[in-house]
């Protein structure tokens, strides 16, 4: 039934889009002959394909693009902070991310004032909303990340497993719908050291984010309306308990408390995990037979809901922003729009990234089907479902600082140095001090 509804929705969207483009204005990229646009872009093999479109924009507008810096997001963030600190903002367009954007203050302009509403309407509304900080649209989203489940079909479709599961739990074996089921199945599948149920990010913003996701799925949240930390609620304790139960039952690799995303990805690709809640960027890697043992049996499922029946939907988007100090804002905005327009989004989507324009979802699924990439077509169908429930972390400048308090506390609880309540209470107290210092907490 929901499938039909979805199809109907997509068909309507397609119709509206088709009808819409006939009347909507084509975005005017402008002419900037002789102008050199300085940009700072996020570098790395995953992001660079899009930049092959830059010569097209140059030809279109007559301007030249000078890539002043190209780094990974960790170093780029540091560089931008240094630029702010030293007052040397000599560039116009910068790569940004919804998690980092709130820290930059008023470095970037409000794009609502420079981009026509007709153009902004082409973006996925939820994604665009999460690109706002304090009501200002400081960035144009480029690709979105939201987590969903990858699982090994061979384990789920094995008759033996199905029989055992049915016997033990009384229900059929299928990808988990709730986090409790997720935990149950992970423990069921685990047979260390040959195979584990799952793995989770054990440190840095990764752990805080997952904690936040389960917390929200259980109905709780990080802060209340007055910015008072409330993550040490019973929902938060239940979230920490989820990690701890998996760890104690040895359903996750013992080293998971130190894992970052690449460790989890490698474990899944090596066939060590039964199921993995992870990001779309891994789909290509997991389905490549040269990289991954599970390429032939990769399954996709929507992320589970929590005790409140909702999804946590932790997401973020990479984006482009334009600086206040830019001497030719029209050119900069034109560049940012160009790199996130329909053709650009199509290029990103074909590589397996989630686009930020509504139309692209439909088009790329068609393209996948026509080009013998059925599994990616399936993946996109699943992923698009979860976009509607996608939520970013709190869009406030102190997020990273607060996160750096939370993840060591959750780690301490997982490895048993403190109880979950103790750890969260301690973190909440420290977070309160931070929010007070920042003047946000009344």
């Amino acid at each position: 039934m929901t499938r039909n509804l979805l199809n109907a929705l997509m068909a309507t969207c397609a119709l509206v889009a088709l009808g819409g483009t006939a009347q909507a204005q084509e975005f005017d990229y402008g002419k900037f002959d002789g102008y050199t646009l300085k940009v700072k872009l996020i570098g790395g093999t995953q992001y660079e394909k899009l930049y092959t479109r830059i010569p097209e924009w140059e030809a279109l507008t007559g301007a030249k693009v000078e890539i002043v810096s190209s780094k990974n997001h960790f170093d780029l963030d540091r560089e931008i902070k240094q630029d702010i600190a030293s007052g040397s903002i000599t560039w116009c367009v910068g790569s940004n991310h919804t998690s980092f954007a709130p820290q930059y203050g008023d470095l970037y302009i409000d794009l609502k004032e420079m981009v026509p509403q007709a153009e902004l309407d082409k973006y996925v509304p939820g994604t665009l909303a999460s690109a706002m900080v304090d009501g200002r649209l400081v960035q144009l989203p480029r690709v979105t990340d939201v987590s969903n489940l990858y699982y090994r079909k061979s384990l789920y479709e094995s008759a033996e497993n199905q029989a055992k599961y049915k016997e033990q739990f009384g229900v059929d074996l299928a990808p988990p719908k709730t986090f409790d089921e997720f935990k149950q199945q992970a423990i069921f599948f685990a047979a260390p050291p040959d195979i584990y149920g799952t793995a989770f990010a054990g440190k840095d913003e990764g752990l805080t984010g997952r904690f936040m996701e389960i917390l929200r799925a259980n109905g709780g949240d990080m802060f209340d309306e007055n910015w008072k930390p409330i993550f040490n609620s019973p929902e938060g304790v239940a979230a920490v308990q989820w990690f701890k139960d998996l760890y104690d039952a040895k359903a996750v690799p013992a080293g998971t408390v130190n894992y970052t995303w690449d460790d989890i990805g490698q474990a899944m690709a090596a066939g060590q995990l039964a199921i993995d809640l992870d990001w779309p960027g891994w789909a290509g890697f997991f389905s490549d037979p040269a990289s991954s043992k599970v390429a032939s049996e990769l399954g996709f499922a929507v992320s589970p809901v929590g005790t409140s029946g909702k999804r946590g939907g932790w997401s973020g988007s990479h984006s482009f922003s334009v600086t206040q100090q830019c001497d030719n804002k029209e050119a900069a905005v034109s560049f940012a729009v160009f790199l996130t327009n329909d053709e650009s989004e199509m290029m990103e989507a074909q590589a397996g990234n989630l686009p930020t324009r509504t139309k692209t979802f439909i088009e790329v699924v068609e393209w996948f089907k026509a080009n013998d990439k059925q599994h990616l077509a399936d993946m996109f169908a699943v992923w698009q479902q979860s976009l509607s429930e996608a939520r970013t972390p709190p869009l406030v400048a102190q997020w990273i600082e607060v996160s750096n308090i939370i993840w060591p506390a959750v780690q301490a609880a997982i490895v048993g140095e403190k109880t979950a309540q103790e750890a969260l209470d301690g973190a909440a107290a420290e977070a309160t001090v931070i929010m007070q210092d920042a003047g946000l907490l009344q």
């Binding site: 093999t45 810096s69 030293s86 995303w261 690449d262 690709a269 990001w279 960027g281 891994w282 990289s291």
Partner: protein, 287 residues
Amino acid sequence: MRGKLSIEKPWQRWAIRFGVFIAMVILVVPGAWVVLTAFRPNIEVLARPAVWIPQHLTLNNFLGIFGLLSTQQGLPVGSYFVNSLVISITSTVIAIALGMMGGYAFARYRFRGKATLFLGFMLSRTVPGVALSLPLFIIWARLGLIDTSFGLIVVYLAVNIPFTIWLTDGFFRQIPVDLSEAAQIDGCTRWQAFWKVEFPLARSGLASAAIFAFLTSWNEYALASQLTRTTASKTMPVGLMDFTAQFTVDWTGMSAMAVLIIIPALVLTFVVQKHLIAGLTFGGVKG
């Protein structure tokens, strides 16, 4: 002439050889693993159970870096390489020159403030990177030295000089003063005596200092990632981080890049080795 006495019994010699062998294995294996990884597809690298004998060897990782594979963008490896080379060699040469001057001053002269200066050079290294990095960045930005080879060279000089001074100081002290005095009695100026007598004898020390300074600059990441932006000055270690994205790490690609970093260093080290023993025949000079 190596002066090796053959008083040692055969079992001692074999024990020594065995010890060296084990030590070399421990030193080499973790590094060799990285080099081998560069030639393997990811599925064999981080796998369980481990694939001990490589089933497939591939050059894809290298092709990918240079943009010869359709699935990914290449990286400007050539530019990184040239930058690394220029920056490392220049800062090493200058550091050796300035270090030699300073080391000679400390080794051969008594002067006021000598101990303080020496200590000062040492203490300049106590400053932790974080305390230094931002102000250095701000100053360099004002001077327009960000993203220039020159800017990075100057910083590496400050990193390497205390070290070259100490090393050359130590080696100059090993050379008896009488040699220089004898040459001066024979009619050389102090300057000539230095070049004819002391410099050749200190060659082994200078070669060691040079290799160190070069390798430090060649592999340095922290300062380079701060002060470089684009292919105008980005060095190869900074290029290693191009293989990390927000969630994924292209480990096989990074290993391929690492191989490109290691090979020139290995070759250069091997070539410079002979100067390490060149100055050792002064056993016949003394007495």
